[in-house]
Amino acid sequence: MRKLSHLIAAVLTLALLLSITGCGGSADGKTHLTFQIWDVYQRPGMQAMCDAYTAQRPDVVIEVQATSWSEYWTKLEASAESNTMPDIFWMHTNQLLYYAGFGMLADVTDLYDDVEPDYYEKHFSEISRSNASGSDGRLYGVPKDKDNGLLVYNKEMFDAAGVPYPTDDWTWEDLTDASRKIYDATGKYGFMAYNDDQLGYWCFVYQAGGHILTADRTQAGYTNPGSVKAMEFYVNMQKEDWCPDQTYFTETAPGTAFFSEAGAMYLEGNWNLPQLMENYPDMRGKWDLAKLPKCADPIEDSESLDQDGRATMSNGLCYSTAAHGKKRDIALDVIKFFGTEEAQRIQGENGAAIPAYIGCEETWRSAFDAYDEKLNLDVIFDQFDYAVQAVYNSASPKWKSQVLDELTRVYAGSQDLMTGLEKMQQIADTETAKKLASD
């Protein structure tokens, strides 16, 4: 009896020891890296880049892990606190300033000094660089991609109502006129103006000459005359019979409504297009892309960018690694590779996202090679000429959800627009001032 228990104890101890060494990852003598992303659709593209790297460095193994957007940030923050961050991970503009401000991210400003002194300036746009910069102007990530929002429309509904397709010169009035005509003729919704910032009112605010944050990102601009003009237009569209209200969008996402042919137009991010083509085979050929309509009479403002009523939001991600990661040097080498033309090209050709690397953007078109029905992808590349960088500051994580709450109350009708905007202004200003004071 006694011998048996000793034997069991010995076996268990051995198993424990084996599992510990297994965790160390050195069983095969290679360096194992984890690469955390939040978009499962981009996994093949990311995997292809990793494969290209490990082909040159057979002693490295990179595991791509995808999770959901909301889980990603909870996990990443917890791992940052315990210094167990993934070796490589995506960073978003909304969070980069927060992470960089606390010294969580490795400074990659000098990463390419041995290649080219002004590598970033030469190969990445100002927006891309700005998206990867901390408040101190240093770079905390290698630019990955860029995107923008565009108008998606249903060609059949336009035909049925006898309305010409959206053109480059479309104004807000053209948008509402077409919506009314389509609704009257077909009974389907026109433009589906849902409560969203980057793919919604932000675009309209900048078109009207307003701003969400001042250029130095220290103050909000919700009550700026241009912003008010745009918000009045955007929010009140839901009062028209051709636009569903927010209760509808809570239950039916605008994309779902569009692809079940309940409405004729909505704003979509270019990053979603490949999966929309894949997921809705019956709709291929029935829809197309157009530039965002412009504001015919924008309000002149010292803070606004001179864009003659045109604007769309552009954002971009970057690849980062932890400032004090255990495998920092090798991780830095990997993200250095991710920023090269070769890796960015692989990313584009796999249809993952539009590469941030200047000159590689068009490789992303190959994401649509498999389909006979063509989309007017030119509009996406043309829109980069006047795209505005998605607006975030280091206090964004604090004010974003509170601002959303206030706007939700406006949509619900429990407070009027002006009161809502004043509160949004106050929330963003207070949180920003608090953050600036503590820095």
Binding site: G101, T250, E251, T408, A412
Partner: protein, 295 residues
């Protein structure tokens, strides 16, 4: 007394400690220590990445001055009012029906127990479709256009219905076990004395099942006060009725993990713990009045 233990007794005592150590260590590490940390965090401002600054009672001052917080407190209480009495009454009714002589008893028991086997996330997703304002089943049957989940008036009710639906089977099984422990002879003696069914329910069934009823009540009330998952699954960030349906735990989640304000979130947790403590104390005091532990 302890000082005079013999060597054998001391060894036995040490063994006792050794045997309960896993549980005690687990409780301290996983429950007590986090509770102390939460308490401390509630007096702090979270600067980011686990760094805290002591700010005294400021979080509580902010909290008690915030209309959203009081609304969430009321929503939680309202949710309890909707789910606990109705849920337990239904569970008792079902348990009594399952205890009676009916055909396919086993089949019925399985059906009522089934919701418990389903993943809560799946339940919430299916009910979201059921409550859909455009295509939902109840709206089709009623011929109405009620926006169940997005109308502030019905949002809490909708969540309560799902909560009762998914918990009633479990409660019924517990109560059924209680019912089956009642000796048949009591009913026989009672009916010989000429009592009707309703009188039997109040004089025999209810007192005899009251200990089980009491445990079910405590568990259900605690679960209802901590309601979070259903709301998280059924409501979106852009739901116009969100502030009208969010519970204290959901407000805590949004404060701590969406807005990153963990100090304020901790204050909400401490307040909720206090509420649960109060309610449970009242219940334990009240049990003396209505719970029968011996025949």
């Amino acid at each position: 007394m302890n000082g005079k233990l013999s060597a054998a007794a001391r060894r036995e005592e040490n063994w006792g400690w050794f045997m309960v150590a896993p549980t005690i260590i687990g409780l301290v590490v996983l429950n007590l220590w986090p509770f102390i940390q939460t308490l401390y965090a509630s007096f702090c401002e979270h600067l980011g990445f686990g760094r805290y600054k002591f700010i005294g009672l400021q979080n509580y001052v902010d909290m008690f001055g915030n209309a959203e917080f009081w609304k969430a407190t009321w929503n939680t209480v309202y949710f309890c009012i909707l789910t606990v009495p109705v849920g337990i009454a239904l569970a008792l009714l079902i348990a009594m029906l399952l205890n009676a002589k009916v055909k396919f008893k086993g089949g019925f028991r399985t059906i009522f127990f089934l919701p418990l086997v389903c993943a809560p996330a799946a339940i919430a997703m299916v009910w979201r479709w059921i409550f859909n304002g455009e295509y939902g089943v109840p709206n089709q049957l009623l011929g109405a256009k009620i926006q169940w989940i997005t109308d502030p008036k019905t949002a809490v009710l909708a969540v309560a219905i799902v909560s009762v639906w998914s918990s009633v089977g479990y409660d019924a099984v517990l109560l059924l076990a209680g019912l089956q422990n009642i000796p048949k002879t009591l009913y026989e003696a009672n009916s010989i004395d000429g009592a009707g069914k309703i009188r039997q329910f109040f004089t025999i069934t209810l007192p005899m099942v009251s200990p089980t009823l009491f445990s079910v009540l405590i568990m259900r009330l605690m679960a209802s006060m901590k309601i979070y998952d259903l709301i998280y699954m059924m409501a979106d960030e852009t739901n116009p009725a969100l502030t009208d349906m969010q519970s204290l735990m959901y407000l805590f989640y949004r404060s701590s993990f969406v807005a990153g304000d963990r100090g304020y979130g901790s204050a909400i947790v401490i307040w909720t713990v206090g509420l649960i403590l109060l309610v449970t104390l009242v219940q334990f005091w009240g049990q003396k009045k209505w719970v029968t532990y011996d025949i």
